[in-house]
């Protein structure tokens, strides 16, 4: 059943100002959606209060309204235009909240506007922590023990009941705004106040903290016939308690067995289907107890999310573009995979590389800000790197941070002693991954690091491998550096500059480059093709690595 021909013009709501937790990701999804709908011959009208976005370029839509994201602006646009439908799922929580507000005031009904790609009740259930809790209980999905409080006193009472450590999670926010850890009684009052204030409906979830659990995120797509696919599974290297937006994340999941993954997949699909009827993207977060592999749901976002942009780049599957097509009535099985152009869009991407996202913080610009990471997102951006191994990808990501890091393998030299490092990494901060590497360089054991950070030991093994190669490199100077070792270093993501530094700057970056060129160790370019090379790709993109062939 192809697209719905009764839709001739669509209003897309943008996400407004760039704030922490809601940045250019939604510009990316909004622009993709606008293009995707316009190429179907449907008129696109766009509203966003932020002119510093791609989506508000005049060429992106038929009309662009740079207006405050308010119900008044919406009414004005509806007065001035013939609009059939509104697509509110591309502009993050801001757009959804505005859409909901307009719905409550009867605006959509008044102008006879259809809501597409969204289920208002679904949004309500997903963002209202109590409703979400109730839904999960009713469909048998485990969650952390919790209670919702609408007042300070209620919150205190529930906290006493549940016991510490706790987390406070406000309703209807994003980026973990207003959320936080409560380790003991002394921190409770402040955390409760902050949480209640952050929630537009003055509601918080008081929840038992799950410590040491692993965190995962799944990106889903569903069409109006209820066909569902999982586009990407993202594993947070950092455990629960550090916002996904502030975590180093990896795709595909590195430490998940198929048994655990299918459990998550089944739960995610059940959650999405229980949340109402909408055609489009959805994001589900889970925590997994590494000892028992027990899984609990953390939250569900029935919209294109912050992570969808990452998942799209990571897999080659344009989530927002397809989600927009699903919203106007297409089904997944009648659309084509946008990269192969011959196979179906109804499939689950397979990756033959690793992507690593590392967040970028700007604490030096926020003097006096608390730089401990937690439930509330603090990063202002992120880098994503692709490699043919985790080590290569994580090093590339660190090289791209535009700070003093020259790969993970070389970030100055730590002046801290190993005992201090072990203490230091117990608190999550922006530089934790570098300090973990320092600790490993000093011989701290993998076990000790796992105990201090709750990071899965597989990742620590990988960082240890980087340390091993760095130590090997340090034993040589450029003229006696074996080709095999240099090749191994390059394959594990060491940059030429990094190698020069490891060899105590006895050579320059250029000299390392010349040397490896002489050895024939040069970059090849591989495709991101959604399908692990199973099919020919017509419009792929590329990343570099050190292997045999450009394919």
């Amino acid at each position: 059943m192809p697209k719905d021909n009764s839709i001739k013009s669509v209003l897309i709501i943008g996400s407004g100002p760039i704030i922490i937790g809601q940045a250019c990701e939604f510009d990316y999804s909004g622009s993709q959606a606008a293009r995707s709908i316009r190429e179907e011959g449907i008129k696109v009208i766009l509203i966003n209060s932020n002119p510093a976005t791609i989506m508000t370029d005049p060429m992106m839509a038929d009309s662009v309204y740079l207006l405050p994201l308010t119900v008044e602006s919406i009414e004005q646009i509806l007065e001035e235009n013939e609009i059939d439908a509104v697509l509110p799922t591309m502009g993050g929580q801001t757009a959804l909240n505005l859409c909901k507000e307009a719905e409550e005031l009867g605006i959509w009904q008044k102008y006879n506007i259809r809501l597409i790609g969204v289920d208002i009740e679904g949004i309500e259930t997903a963002e209202n922590r109590e409703k979400f809790r109730q839904l999960m209980i009713s469909i048998g999905i485990p969650i952390a023990p919790s209670k919702t409080a609408n007042s300070f006193l209620e919150g205190k009472e529930f906290a006493q009941e549940l016991g510490f450590p706790l987390v406070i999670r406000p309703s209807f926010t994003l980026g973990g705004t207003g959320g936080g850890f409560v380790h003991d009684k002394s921190e409770l009052d402040e955390a409760l106040q902050r949480g209640l204030q952050a929630s537009p409906i003055h509601e918080v979830l008081v929840e038992k903290a799950v410590l040491g659990w692993k965190e995962f995120e799944l990106e889903l797509l569903r069409d109006k016939n209820d066909n569902v696919v999982i586009i990407c599974t993202v594993e947070n290297m950092d455990p629960m308690g550090i916002h996904t937006g502030d975590s180093v994340t990896v795709a595909p999941a590195m430490t998940l067995s198929d048994t655990a993954f299918q459990d998550m997949r089944n739960k995610a699909i059940l959650m999405m289907r229980s949340l109402g009827n909408f055609a489009g993207g959805c994001n589900v977060q889970f925590a997994l107890n590494p000892e028992t592999e027990e899984i609990i749901a953390v939250e569900i976002n029935p919209r294109v999310s912050r992570s969808s942009a990452l998942a799209s780049k990571a897999t080659g599957y344009p989530i927002a573009k397809i989600a927009a097509k699903l919203a106007i009535g297409y089904t997944l099985d009648e659309l084509k995979n946008q990269i192969t152009q011959t196979t179906s869009a109804y499939f689950e991407p397979a990756l033959d590389y690793v992507i690593v996202k590392v967040p970028r913080w700007n604490f030096d610009k926020f003097k006096g800000a608390n730089d401990t990471l937690g439930l509330q997102m603090k990063s202002v951006g992120e880098v994503m790197a692709i490699g043919r191994s985790f080590t290569e990808a994580v090093q590339k990501a660190c090289q791209s941070l535009e700070n003093e890091a020259v790969g993970l393998g070389y970030y100055g030299k730590s002046l801290m002693k190993s005992e201090d490092l072990i203490e230091y990494i117990k608190t999550p901060k922006w530089d934790r991954i570098f300090r973990i590497k320092d600790a490993l360089m000093q011989g701290v054991t993998v076990k000790t690091i796992v105990q201090a950070t709750y990071i899965d030991r597989w990742f620590i093994y990988q960082i240890q491998e980087i340390c091993r190669i760095e130590k090997e490199l340090a034993r040589y100077a450029l003229d006696n550096l074996p080709a095999e070792l240099l090749k191994e270093a390059k394959r594990n993501g060491f940059s030429d500059e990094q190698i020069a530094r490891i060899m105590k700057n006895t050579c320059t970056e250029e000299q390392v480059y010349e040397k490896r060129k002489a050895f024939g160790i040069t970059r090849v370019y591989k495709m991101v093709d959604t399908c692990s090379a199973e099919f020919e790709a017509k419009t792929p993109y590329f990343y570099s690595t050190f292997e045999e062939k450009n394919v």
């Binding site: 998940l256 198929d258 099985d333 499939f347 397979a350 033959d352 093994y461 692990s532």
Partner: protein, 366 residues
């Protein structure tokens, strides 16, 4: 950690050579090369009897991360002949794991090679098609390897089902159960049996060459024809058995090789595919209900689409959305159906488990 990596080599039938690093058992192994695009469930894949005789490339770049355990096995031991990967992990992380992939492969005497540009290799196989290969971490002499490779039989015309089938009959499930199924084991995956038993079926599993008369002695409510390795066209004995089952008009369900045999029993030919379907993400549409399923697949042979379409007694129930190959059929006048993919998954999505329910319902209403 392997400080002095031992060189290993991969030689393709057409003379192409790839060098890498030894993993698992030190030695040599030859067979048909194939690739799997799945990103989870390597242990289930390695122990799947349908992979018997094949040298498997894992497209996913890290394999072995969560070790292996005693639970996630589809048969008693590793069935692939050899393994090719980008990064095969010696060190693993999982509470439920009992050992590393490296130790497991050594125990099962499986030769593996890592550090291969698997993407280049897969692209090559995708273009040139399936072929034999040899991997070696012992003797790196190409001429000697070529000789060994030449004596490796090709997959076409090869009967392998009886090699991996059980040698003894056995029963599973509650003997007092309402429904009984006679299973033909051509290399059955454990979870197929679990899917039946969990639905309250009492099964008796029979060796590949069991005559129909013996299958019938169990007094079954239905027959199940399993997956398995090799060329279905090399199994006339099985086709005969299926024809006899069909004469009975008893419910029959076939998976993968079982699907191909059901086709052959209805005079629909099978053919060797260019490079097969192996992974956990293959899109299939159930054209009866209109619903789509993400499926687990593992097959190098298929059934002839034109012959199916021209067959008046057969209805197509499932098609592949990527290449329109036939994924499911059912007989119009008999209670028999089959699918080319793996509804039991493991590894893979649970989207198609409903087919077991349909089989149960078919038996219950017969």
């Amino acid at each position: 950690m392997n400080q002095s990596p031992q060189t290993a080599v991969l030689l393709l039938e057409d003379g192409n050579i790839f060098y890498g690093k030894a993993f698992g058992k030190i030695g040599a192994a030859s067979g048909e090369i194939c690739f799997n695009t799945g990103m989870t469930g390597y242990q289930e894949v390695f122990t799947d009897p349908s992979y018997y005789g094949q040298v498997l490339i894992m497209n996913n770049v890290h394999t072995g991360n969560y070790g292996v355990n005693k639970k996630e096995m589809e048969s008693a031991n590793v069935k692939i002949r050899g393994l090719i990967g980008r990064n095969l992990e010696e060190r693993f992380s999982r509470y439920q794991a009992t050992e590393s992939l490296d130790d497991y492969l050594k125990e099962n005497e499986i030769v593996a090679i890592e550090n291969i540009d698997t993407r280049a290799l897969v692209t090559y196989i995708r273009t040139k098609g399936a072929m034999n290969c040899i991997i070696s971490s012992e003797d790196l002499d190409i001429h000697a390897l070529k000789e060994k490779l030449n004596s490796t039989p090709g997959m076409a015309g090869l009967e392998l089902a009886s090699v991996v089938s059980t040698t003894e009959e056995y029963e599973l499930g509650d003997a007092a159960a309402q429904l009984k199924v006679s299973v033909l084991d051509y290399g059955i995956k454990q979870n197929i049996l679990s899917c039946l038993v969990k639905r309250g079926v009492h099964v008796r599993v029979h060796p590949a060459r069991t005559p129909f008369s013996r299958l019938k002695e169990f007094n079954p409510d239905g027959y199940f024809v399993s997956n398995g390795p090799g060329d279905p066209a090399a199994m006339p004995y099985a086709v005969e058995t299926l024809k006899e089952i069909l004469k009975e008009e008893s419910p029959l369900f076939g998976i993968c090789l079982g699907h191909q045999l059901l086709a052959l029993a209805n005079d629909i030919p099978t053919f060797k595919m260019h490079h097969g379907h192996r992974g956990l993400n293959h899109p299939v549409k159930n054209i009866v209900t209109g619903r789509c399923e993400i499926t687990t697949q593992n097959h190098g042979f298929g059934i002839d689409p034109a012959a199916v379409r021209n067959h008046t007694g057969i209805e197509i129930t499932h098609v592949n959305l990527n290449d329109e190959s036939i994924e499911g059929i059912r007989l119009k006048n008999k209670p028999a159906f089959s699918v080319q993919y793996h509804p039991e998954s493991t590894p893979g999505p649970y989207d198609s488990r409903y087919l077991f329910d349909e089989f149960i319902a078919m038996m219950a209403s017969n």
